[in-house]
């Protein structure tokens, strides 16, 4: 009965969506409104104005930089939400309990991870974050890979080892680098009397202006990368944490 009602509702929604899709501009068409209105300028001048060969990067950091600031705020608030629910791992836990995560992988896995780890980190930082303006990839992708590498490390060596290497003291300031990077670069713009998050500063011309802009965008990219990566790591740590000390019986009260 309930299923039937749900299916009926879905049918109605589906019919509505299909109706709209049938009336939409055909896919791949060059004349659809979205390709004729705003885009040509991005594509033609994107490299020169946006400051990146990869126009997506230009759009993200420059034309729509404010959105990206919102994006890093989203993930920052997700982190706050997760730790507000689950609490951070306890300090000193690594010493007292031998292996809180309960996972101890084989020597082979650990050796492979030990060698692969620096390579992945190097790839993430060098290729993704710094090189993002000319090829696919950027700060956030780099950060995600960075985070993933630490997660792999954790799976191989256990949570205590990881938390010992990346203690809370280090992570907490790093988590906000993404937002701080945006703010700092925005305030530099404001100090020069232009709008927030503008990278071309008045009074700086020619090649110098390009350099300054690239520098500012790189700072933001690296900020996003480190911030995003560390946030992922912290979320995973919070979820892996063994919270034996407050485990309550599951039995519902009568």
């Amino acid at each position: 009965m309930r299923k039937a009602a749900v299916l009926g509702a879905l049918l109605i929604i589906g019919a509505m969506l299909l109706f709209a899709i049938g009336k939409m501009p055909a896919m791949n068409s060059r004349n659809a409104p979205d390709k004729t209105h705003v885009i040509p300028r991005y594509l033609e001048k994107g490299e020169e104005e946006g400051g990146a060969k990869n126009i997506v990067t230009g759009v993200i950091l420059n034309y729509r930089g404010y959105d990206t600031m919102g994006e890093v705020t989203v993930i920052f608030s997700a982190l706050c939400a997760v730790v507000a629910l689950l609490d951070r791992e306890k300090r000193g836990l690594s010493r007292s309990s031998p292996d809180a995560s309960g996972v101890r992988s084989s020597v082979i896995v650990r050796t492979v991870v030990r060698f692969a780890f620096p390579v992945i980190v190097f790839f993430a930082v060098a290729y993704m974050m710094l090189h993002g303006e000319g090829s696919p990839g950027g700060g956030f992708q780099g950060g995600a890979i960075l985070g993933a590498s630490v997660i792999v490390f954790t799976l191989a060596f256990g949570l205590p080892e990881s938390t010992r290497r990346m203690p809370l003291k280090v992570r907490i300031p790093l988590e906000s680098t993404a937002i701080v990077g945006f703010l700092a670069m925005g305030i530099i713009g404001l100090a020069y009397g232009v709008n927030f998050l503008t990278y071309l500063l008045p009074g700086v011309h020619g090649a110098m202006a390009q350099t300054v802009r690239n520098l500012m965008m790189t700072v933001i990219e690296v900020g996003i990368g480190i911030g995003g990566g560390v946030i992922f790591i912290s979320i995973v740590f919070a979820m892996m944490r063994e919270d034996k000390y407050e485990l309550q019986p599951d039995v519902p009260q009568p």
Binding site: N54, T57, G137, Q141, A148, I151, F232, V236, M239, M240
Partner: protein, 80 residues
């Protein structure tokens, strides 16, 4: 864009999604979902969005799956 490849990928997408919905072993669901994300990443390279493909592969197939698997380990594997 290659039409046949596109079609194939779309079919795969729908199939993996359907399998993910039908399966009752949650761990398997998480793995199938990660395959679904990878399909999506490949589809995005076909749609000329390499940035997105990278992100989806790293975040969708990587981080999200790790989060799901962690949760499943700490809770329950069976869908009851």
């Amino acid at each position: 864009m290659n039409w046949a490849l596109n079609l194939l990928l779309l079919l795969f997408l729908v199939t993996t999604a359907a399998v993910a919905i039908r399966l009752r072993d949650l761990l398997a669901v998480a793995i199938v979902f990660s395959a679904y994300s990878l399909m999506m990443a490949i589809l995005w390279t076909q749609l000329r969005a390499p940035d997105l493909a990278l992100t989806e592969a790293a975040v969708g197939a990587g981080v999200t799956t790790v989060l799901f698997v962690l949760t499943i380990f700490k809770t329950t594997r069976r869908e009851d």
